[in-house]
Symmetry: C3
Subunit: 131 residues, 3 copies
Amino acid sequence: MDILNIRTFQRIDFIDITNEIEKKVKESGIMEGICYLFVPHTTAGLTINENADPAVINDIRLKVNNLIPYKDTYTHGEGNSDAHIKSSIFGVSLNLIISRSRLVLGTWQGVYFCEFDGPRNRNLYIKILAG
Amino acid sequence: MDILNIRTFQRIDFIDITNEIEKKVKESGIMEGICYLFVPHTTAGLTINENADPAVINDIRLKVNNLIPYKDTYTHGEGNSDAHIKSSIFGVSLNLIISRSRLVLGTWQGVYFCEFDGPRNRNLYIKILAG
Amino acid sequence: MDILNIRTFQRIDFIDITNEIEKKVKESGIMEGICYLFVPHTTAGLTINENADPAVINDIRLKVNNLIPYKDTYTHGEGNSDAHIKSSIFGVSLNLIISRSRLVLGTWQGVYFCEFDGPRNRNLYIKILAG
């Protein structure tokens, strides 16, 4: 298992980590298999979406904030319940197919680390298996 | 890795692809293992839900449209931001357990390809591993 | 494949099943690998979130009920459409990395079975593979 360190810069921040994961896949030497990603945090998540027009990620961020606002009638004392809810909705576990030593992704897809309570230093666990 | 071609007919369309995936599982000859599904598009997704009463899928579609409407204050120029947001919420990656050459599913479960910006011709990537 | 029986006690109930899964991992004797979880129901799901302050899970439950209310303009005759929608949003499939015979989880993470139409007796399918 490998660990990727990710620095986030805003309270809600979507960081394109596709290249970092591709690098780990290449380093593994595995040509065909599965890449398992796991976020060991309760106020962050993962998603795959468009990496061409940054307005897409911005629209995702705005709508999710609109549905699950930072300030609401939450009871959790730390004041970051919105981030926990967003984490459950996006999910912390994801897997990708590896073919010819590369992630199998659509033309417009990038893999994003979703920060919902930053800025922070975060970790992403990566396990790559041949198959 | 195998590719399933899927034709969608409405802007938002949930297509039951359970039988097509079962067929790929049988063709693989693998009796016990995992079936990995991956949607290489940024305005589509996957879900598992009831395949008995079509009103269930209809209610899912209506509620999701109500929470994330087609027209809203989005900034992405292509006008399909709602489809990108829905894709991130449903997810593009899913895996199923295979036992005795069949997908392990509950009595009422079907696997659905979720189109959020159709009609289009779409692909689904399928990788089946023994284990 | 193993089956975990889960008893839920409220209509919407988040049950921490981390210890039960850890037990299955230990029983498998597998030190390094992947643990695949699958819910064979259409009105339940899985999530990973904080297991320290119960207010977090309570806030998740309240917000999700607020966005997807029990009673609304649904068409499905059984009257539990909200539970189906919640199931699709949380998801029924999840996988965890196993390292040194233990689930790899963050300090504050627990694995929750999400009941959306209880109380009921539920099943969770668990498949553990070495790798």
